[in-house]
């Protein structure tokens, strides 16, 4: 494995290997609950809590987990923290808990969390696992809030519940419906592909000019 610096562990999850936009992990919550920014934030907060806690716990206990049953052990740890998150949300944010419904429980099967445990926490120390988890969590939050923002602004004409465009705005209802989720992510990826390609073409042009 390549040696990395702690700051690289942190940045990687946010940008270079953004779980949703680059690695296509955790798509289920990213598409299902992003019909408003508030829901996206609540979901991100719950996921953030779960990924940080399980990363710390798993990297602490990695010596005691037998290699053969490690996946089951990770899943159990994650499930425990999801149960905690579920109860905490129910107690302190009952409105969001109701809006997210079964999708809180579905954090357990978010491949992103299990992926980070297997790929990182199981091999690295507590501090770096925490950095990695925080980075991944922030990357997830950025992607979700971005999608929630697009969908809420276009589909309802509001941001965080505040109307933006005045009474004559005709909401683009499809964006808050399931189809809008697929389309929004599709178009975000298209835009990313466009910038990526432009960067590459420019780099090639620069290389040609200098040679």
């Amino acid at each position: 494995m390549r040696k990395t610096t702690p700051s690289h562990d942190f940045i990687r999850g946010i940008w270079n290997e953004n779980p949703v936009l680059i690695q296509m992990l955790g798509l289920c919550p990213a598409l299902a609950v992003t019909n408003s920014v508030v829901n996206a934030l609540a979901m991100s907060a719950a996921t953030f809590f779960v990924i940080c806690c399980s990363s710390v716990l798993i990297s602490t206990c990695k010596r005691f987990i037998p290699h053969e049953v490690r996946i089951s052990a990770y899943i159990l740890v994650i499930a425990t923290f999801v149960t905690l998150a579920d109860m905490l949300l129910q107690a302190y944010a009952p409105v969001q808990h109701k809006a997210l419904g079964a999708f809180i429980a579905l954090i357990v099967v978010n491949c992103m969390i299990l992926g980070r445990q297997e790929a990182f926490s199981a091999k690295n120390n507590v501090f770096r696992s925490l950095l990695d988890a925080v980075g991944t969590g922030i990357g997830f939050t950025i992607a979700l809030v971005m999608m929630g923002g697009f969908r809420e602004i276009l589909g309802v004409g509001a941001f965080l519940g505040f109307p933006l465009f005045g009474p004559n705005f005709e909401p683009w209802v499809i964006m808050v419906l399931p189809a809008g989720g697929f389309l929004t992510l599709g178009f975000i990826l298209l835009a990313m592909g466009y910038f990526e390609q432009r960067k590459k073409t420019r780099a090639e042009a620069a290389a040609e000019a200098s040679s």
Binding site: A79, T80, C111, F182, L183, G186, F187, L189, L190, G193
Partner: protein, 191 residues
């Protein structure tokens, strides 16, 4: 206990609230194994099988064990799903090694397939009984298969078409999925 009719549960799970296209469950195999119709169909059938087993075990757990300890629900469901997937994996490996190779990583990944875990959770939240649960599972499984096969057939036909470079890959799949999902919205009036 819910008193919803069996047919309405079946139809709602299959098309109106299609697991993949309306509820975004089971997206990993939807993106991953939808390149060939043949594989997609088999993946769908394997899914139906696991879904029905999950529904039955979730019902047993709920009725006889979890009454007294509802906070253990998430943990016990995930254990049941994980062991079921393990069993199915062994069965498939024994009966059809070819299919086992085709499905590859997506078979063990069924453990973290939201559709299967989601089915158990939704079934519990809605208070379905035994037969309602089975109907729900079959409907959801057929819905998944339908979505997978539709997606695979579209992808097979766009494979050689001339799309812009930036749209190749996931972006194109997502936009096709969005269009399919829009088509499925037409069923919304039926519920």
């Amino acid at each position: 206990m819910s008193d919803q009719g069996l047919f309405s549960i079946f139809f709602s799970a299959m098309v109106v609230n299609n697991f993949t296209l309306a509820m975004f469950l089971g997206l990993c195999p939807f993106m991953g194994v939808s390149a060939r119709v043949e594989t997609a169909l088999r993946m769908g059938l394997a899914n139906i099988f696991v879904l029905v087993l999950t529904s039955t075990s979730a019902w047993v757990l709920n009725t006889y064990i979890l009454e007294t300890v509802p906070y253990l629900r998430i943990i016990s469901f995930i254990i049941v799903v994980a062991s079921l997937v393990q069993i199915v994996e062994m069965v498939v490996k024994k009966l059809s090694p070819v299919l086992f190779r085709q499905l590859g990583i997506f078979l063990p990944l069924m453990t973290t397939n939201c559709a299967i875990f989601g089915l158990a959770i939704f079934q519990t939240n809605r208070g379905y009984g035994f037969f309602q649960g089975i109907t729900f599972a079959v409907g959801a499984g057929l819905g998944l298969t339908l979505a997978l096969v539709l997606m695979a057939s579209i992808r097979e036909s766009v494979e050689f078409s001339d799309v812009p470079n930036i749209a190749k890959g996931t972006a194109l799949v997502l936009i096709i999925a969005g269009t399919l999902s829009m088509a499925f919205m037409g069923f919304a009036g039926l519920s």
